[in-house]
Symmetry: C2
Subunit: 242 residues, 2 copies
């Protein structure tokens, strides 16, 4: 499977994704699930993907190709007039790829893929979308400032409880690592390394991009620290009295 999160804070957008893909437990590989397009000063777009790897790679490849070859540049994600139109473009590409893979509609589910698209275009607000395999999509709001795709359940409780829109980037990375660590500990289909990307609002360039490897000292500090912090938290609660 996969685990990806896109999260909106007042200061910008933060993205994290794992890199494990598997077709059966003995066919495991590392693939990047985070892709970005930038025209410095004008726009930044980030796309996270989960689901059938052939579908997600085809979608990324088509978006890539069309953003590079001038004669195929219409439609292209680098020319979309708004984030909404960029989300539509990704959605249409997903539909196109899935229809090509399963023209008769047979087993269309097997080719499914979901995407998180976030970014900002100059003159407009930063926006965050969740794009379904059917090609339609929803946008984040004040009450739901993050989207998860893939193996979402293990890491959700901490996101729900600890997220605050006023968080700093540094706190947000900590929150995401805790959420990813809970998922990594519970599900073999999500694996290290983890990719991180930070976009600061109104900057129109990528502020930071980093890969956390298994032996990253900050990741280890969070993973080990969270285990013992949880035990302390748990011990601080009153025992049941018969």
């Amino acid at each position: 499977m996969t685990y990806c999160v896109g999260l909106k804070i007042d200061r910008g957008l933060v993205f994290m994704s794992d890199t494990r893909t598997n077709a059966g437990v003995d066919n495991v590989s590392v693939f990047r699930k985070m892709h970005s397009w930038a025209k410095p000063g004008e726009r930044v777009l980030v796309l996270l993907s989960a689901g059938n790897l052939a579908t997600t790679q085809a979608v990324i490849s088509l978006l890539e190709e069309r953003s590079k070859a001038p004669d195929e540049r219409n439609p292209t994600i680098l020319e979309a007039p708004s984030m909404y139109q960029a989300a539509r473009l990704v959605g249409d590409t997903v539909k196109e790829v899935i229809q090509q893979s399963a023209p008769t509609g047979q087993n269309a589910d097997a080719f499914g893929a979901s995407f998180i698209l976030g970014g900002q275009i100059n003159g407009m607000e930063p926006r965050l979308f969740l794009i379904y395999p059917e090609g339609n999509f929803i946008e984040s709001g004040e009450d739901t400032p993050f989207f998860q795709i893939g193996e979402t359940k293990y890491g959700k409780p901490i996101l729900v409880r600890a997220h605050e829109p006023t968080m700093s980037f540094e706190e947000t990375v900590k929150l995401l690592l805790v959420s990813f660590d809970s998922t990594l500990k519970s599900n073999l289909s999500v694996g290290m390394p983890l990719d991180l990307l930070y976009y600061e609002r109104d900057s129109f360039k990528i502020a930071m991009q980093k890969r956390f490897e298994q032996d990253d000292s900050y990741y280890r500090a969070i993973s080990d620290g969270w285990s013992s912090a949880l035990k302390t938290a748990f011990a601080s609660l009153p025992d049941f009295m018969r």
Copy 2:
């Protein structure tokens, strides 16, 4: 859906289950998912159920009927010579019910149900089983001392991290309530009240049975306390440094 946990500690067996059943979000009811049979001094058996309500009720009814009507008492769960044979009996009853519901094998998945069976029979050790819709089953071991059925993912990380076989009953109730509270906060198909049952090893009677209602003061203390304890735990970890 449902959330049920059966957990083995050195001192005995602890069971907890929610009570919500739903067929669509506008057809929600409260049903007990915890059933027990006891012959004081001789045996105690506890069964937790998840899945299709018609299937689980039919299984419980058949087990109940056969444990009461003397002429149908063979096979009966109150006469099974071992916990292993009791698990086989439950498994066979599940198979029987599902085959009756879906004789052609069509849509057999829709009638599926899983069970956790735990208990002790005099002269033998306490044992805990997970019974699949196919009627086969597995037993807990030292490395996997608990089973979950239903909506298992949200509440798993804390069980994995905080469980110790040497825990007291009182600590175990606290752990289960934290695990249930994380699930309740994330998934509408799991709902209060919660049923608790404690069996103390070699006692051959039920030590305690309790229903936690929404306004139960201990449940509230854990639910509120865990939120703030988690925030404190989270704040205690070092922020990311760019």
